[in-house]
């Protein structure tokens, strides 16, 4: 095939010309063609940045690169027979499967000082020296040498913009074909028209056919060519204009395969970049018909790498119908087309992600990404892993070849270099390399371990995994995995760090008003289930300090705070009551204001009247039962709490109310006694957090039994538990037995074995009412609720359930 020279020209800069040269060169090379790309934009060279890696660019910066300027000077001034052209050609790495080749002849060592000095010398020579011929002969000689030395199928020239001697030669006498790029700006159109007319009329050498001119409109806005200006463009250049769409980011920050900017936000800009890229490739494929199969493969590869780059650098991700930020790969940690050597073999990595180091430089490779058009992804991954080039290898597959889109592989941590395929469907991000021992492993256990190490960014993913394991079919048929859901809750509940636990709860909060609503695309029922089965469970299972903190949350705006919702759940699901502290206020306020539907304003005002809201406290004060001056059992002076606790436990006389905790019904306050709980836990060989949680749940149920509303909306306003610091204090047997039964049911629902174990051990050492639950395990919760209601209404003694409770208590041994 005779070499065909194609010059890319634009009257104005910033139209994406160099980017198009680079993409065309790559496409043709990957399609099996031998290609040389020549940078003749000598005053503002940039092709090297589009096609070569940073090492080569760095060489240019220190003056180590030869290029077109050096060649032209050699031709015009050097010894006549000397040719260093091979030294000026830099091979551009191509994928292993590529049958073609791509050589770049850069402008020179721009932007080093030596380059500008050489360019100045060239310009002086062009102006003054005619003995050895002029620029015309020199550029034609360079073209002829390129054909002789490299024998390419295509010579692609990145021409200077504007009207200059060199751009004139590049487009008129050097080119078999000129691609003129223009935007829709009037000055660009006018200039391009003048140049195109001149080129059509320019003389040709006798050996040359008439020049072919392709017009390409870039950065076209949506709707082109409907506007009057665009119609003018059509009339000027005829109907064969190709159009590339506009992309605001790439328009200014172009790169070969991808968009290097990380400041994109939202999906639209990504789509426009993809549109541009797809259109560009389509134009190239149409403009340079080549082997169909290879061309299709090259197009797939370029698109796949483009998408991969976008995924790696995208700082936002789509969640439901919204987006959220994420820690993407910084541009400076990514490189395209890096060749690695293993013995005599070499392989091209399409993208390499490097570790960060202080300063502008980057550390060693962390992840290697290669596109494989066929189905030998495992073999490719093994090559990389065997070579020990990086911890992670991601192979981008061709789905039409039966491979998954992304396959992530890792070697073993012990560096035995065994290949391990991951189920991970996405590229690991920088943080994954810090948070995980194996970034390819994003199992639930691995995610949970990372979260416990403080990498709370993974909480959303864990909650997502819980959701997927619970809601069958909602997300594309994910399998129902209740054991996975249980494992997630169990592991999260083991967290003891308060701040971390609060972050867990934030991630698990399905809030209708925030992005969480869209996070998992739920309807109302599913949100309720997340509240109940994930959030509320975690609240009760976390250590009491955390539970108290959450339950003390008051949202002055929304009447339905997280705390209230949690308490409502318990009131409804365990006690069968409605917990609604503001109900009486709203009813009264509504009546006063004459409103049928009291709104948020009234809820706001309710803060002034709220006295039925349950509050929580963990105190180091002396428990009431001790501060009263009397011991309920023997009416003797108070002992030290440790000795008292020991005595109570040994005599199976331990109680919760008044000792481990208390419900102060006059204030709606639940109090935990830290010291008593600590001693109790120590004596029973239990963990303090579980003794505290049992106490907290028990007292909360006391509170909800008191403040919860019956079907008629009434509270148990006459609840008359004796005050615990009264000399006459005696825990109410019925109340405690009933509350313990509900406590048991609640713990059962929490599915916390360690908490249940603590509850069982504690109750074993307690007075008979606290042990009654064991004999009533089989009793339906509805019956217990009925008895509770009867008790609240003062008719409890007459109910059959009362008899059951009484027998259970008195028969206990």
């Amino acid at each position: 095939m005779t070499m065909q020279t194609v010059s890319f020209y634009s009257y104005k800069g910033g139209v994406g010309r160099t980017l198009l040269v680079a993409n065309t060169a790559q496409f043709l090379a990957m399609s099996g063609r031998r290609v040389v790309a020549l940078d003749l934009d000598l005053e503002a060279p940039g092709l090297v940045h589009k096609l070569l890696d940073s090492d080569t660019i760095n060489r240019a910066a220190v003056g180590e690169l030869r290029g077109a300027v050096d060649e032209l000077l050699d031709i015009m001034l050097g010894p006549p027979t000397n040719s260093n052209l091979r030294d000026s050609g830099v091979g551009v790495p191509l994928p292993i499967q590529s049958k073609g080749s791509l050589i770049l002849i850069p402008a020179g060592s721009a932007p080093s000082h030596s380059y500008w000095a050489a360019l100045d010398q060239l310009n002086s020579t062009i102006r003054s020296n005619g003995r050895n011929g002029r620029l015309l002969e020199a550029v034609l000689e360079l073209q002829a040498r390129i054909e002789k030395v490299f024998a390419p199928d295509y010579l692609l020239i990145d021409s200077r913009t504007g009207i200059t001697e060199l751009s004139g030669l590049a487009t008129s006498v050097l080119a078999d074909r000129v691609v003129c790029l223009t935007t829709t700006a009037p000055e660009s159109i006018d200039g391009t028209r003048v140049v195109a007319d001149a080129l059509r009329a320019a003389p040709r050498l006798t050996s040359q056919d008439p020049v072919r001119i392709d017009l390409l409109v870039t950065r076209a806005m949506p709707g082109f060519p409907t506007s009057a200006a665009d119609e003018k463009l059509q009339s000027l250049f005829g109907g064969s204009i190709s159009v590339l769409p506009h992309d605001s980011v790439i328009a200014n920050k172009e790169r070969v395969l991808a968009n290097p900017r990380s400041d994109r936000s939202g999906a639209d800009s990504q789509d426009s970049a993809l549109d541009l890229f797809t259109a560009t490739l389509s134009w190239i494929a149409d403009a340079f018909p080549t082997h169909n199969q290879e061309a299709a493969s090259a197009k797939r590869r370029l698109l796949a790498i483009h998408r991969a780059w976008q995924e790696l650098t995208n700082t936002s991700e789509r969640i439901g119908t919204g987006t959220r930020g994420r820690s993407a790969w910084p541009i400076e940690q990514l490189k395209e087309r890096v060749t690695f050597h293993k013995g005599t073999e070499a392989r091209l990595a399409d993208i390499v992600a490097y570790s960060a180091k202080p300063g502008p430089l980057v550390g060693g490779p962390l992840m290697i990404i290669e596109y494989i058009d066929g189905n030998d992804t495992d073999a490719a991954a093994r090559w990389w892993i065997d070579g020990g080039f990086a911890r992670i290898v991601a192979i981008i597959g061709n789905p039409s070849a039966g491979t998954s889109r992304i396959a992530v592989y890792s070697g073993r941590a012990d560096d035995s270099r065994d290949l391990r395929a991951s189920e991970r469907p996405d590229f690991p991000l920088p943080q994954d390399f810090e948070a995980f021992s194996d970034p390819a492993n994003v199992s639930i256990a691995s995610l949970l371990a990372a979260v416990k190490e403080g990498y709370t960014d993974y909480l959303d993913r864990i909650v997502g995994a819980w959701v997927n394991s619970v809601f069958v079919g909602v997300h594309g048929g994910s399998p129902w995995q209740p054991q996975v859901a249980l494992q997630i809750v169990d592991e999260l509940a083991r967290i003891e760090n308060v701040e971390l636990a609060m972050e867990v709860l934030t991630a698990a909060t399905p809030d209708w008003s925030s992005h969480n609503r869209t996070k998992f695309m739920f309807d109302g029922g599913e949100v309720d289930q997340i509240w109940t089965d994930l959030f509320a469970r975690l609240v009760w299972r976390f250590p009491p300090e955390i539970t108290c903190r959450v339950l003390n949350e008051i949202n002055p705006i929304a009447h339905d705070s997280r705390a209230r919702r949690v308490l409502k759940e318990v009131a409804r699901n365990i006690l069968g009551l409605q917990y609604d502290p503001d109900a009486a206020f709203r009813r009264d306020a509504s009546r006063i204001l004459g409103l049928d539907d009291p709104g948020d304003t009234i809820h706001g005002l309710s803060l002034l009247f709220r006295h039925t809201e349950i509050s929580y406290d963990i105190t180091s004060d002396t428990p009431p039962i001790l501060s009263s001056g009397f011991n309920s059992a023997n009416k003797k002076p108070p002992k030290q709490i440790s000795s008292l606790m020991k005595t109570l436990i040994e005599s199976r006389s331990l109680i919760i109310t008044g000792l481990l905790g208390d419900y102060q019904f006059r204030h709606g306050r639940v109090v935990l006694h830290r010291e008593a709980i600590s001693h109790c836990a120590s004596l029973l060989a239990l963990r303090e957090r579980y003794v505290g949680s049992v106490t907290l749940i028990h007292q909360s149920l006391h509170a909800l039994s008191h403040l919860g509303r019956d079907l008629d909306g009434a509270m148990w306003s006459e609840y008359a538990l004796p005050v615990a610091n009264s000399p006459l204090f005696e825990p109410s047997w019925f109340h405690e037995a009933l509350t313990q039964y509900f406590t048991y049911r609640h713990i059962l629902w929490l599915q916390d074995r360690e908490l249940l174990h603590a509850f069982e051990i504690m109750s074993e050492k307690m007075t008979p009412p606290y042990r009654t639950w064991r004999r009533l395990r089989g009793m339906r919760i509805e019956d217990a609720r009925q008895w509770l209601v009867s008790l609240r209404r003062g008719v409890g003694d007459s109910a059959n359930i009362s008899y059951m409770f009484y027998n259970a208590m008195t028969d206990d041994t």
Binding site: P80, G130, L136, L140, A144, V173
Partner: protein, 147 residues
């Protein structure tokens, strides 16, 4: 210097001027000075003037013709040299040895160009480039800008 002014000089005066100009150009050439080309251009101007006032068949007229072509090449004015050669070769009274000298100068220049542009020389006749350049210069277009 305008042609009218040049016409005021006699042959003897021009001989002195051209001798000095040649001497200066040779010295500048030896020094590698960029001014050498301008100096050779000056030589070309004097030689061309001498050629215009001297008969081709005269010894001095023949020397001036050959000298003007050599000076034009040395000045980097290949177009001008070719134009002068074409004009002088068209003079019927130009002696054979002068005609041969001019042909040799043109041939040597062609060989020098072929040596400097070897790859190009295998593809096109280098003389064709001058034609292309002449045609391009006639185009009333902005492109190509080829001086």
């Amino acid at each position: 210097m305008k042609n009218a002014e040049m016409a005021l000089y006699s042959e003897d005066e021009l001989d002195v001027l051209v001798s000095n100009a040649i001497r200066r150009a040779e010295i500048l050439d030896e020094l590698g000075s960029p001014a050498a080309q301008d100096a050779w251009h000056e030589v070309m101007v004097y030689e061309e003037r001498l050629a215009s006032i001297l008969e081709p068949s005269a010894l001095t007229g023949g020397i001036a013709r050959v000298g003007s072509i050599l000076a034009a090449f040395a000045a980097g004015k290949r177009d001008e040299a070719v134009r002068l050669a074409s004009r002088f070769l068209a003079e019927p009274s130009l002696p054979h040895e002068r005609r041969a000298a001019i042909d040799r100068i043109l041939k040597e220049d062609q060989e020098r160009l072929e040596l400097r542009y070897p790859a190009l020389a295998t593809k096109v006749r280098l003389s064709e480039l001058q034609q292309w350049r002449d045609e391009a210069a006639k185009q009333p277009r902005v492109f190509p800008l080829v001086a």
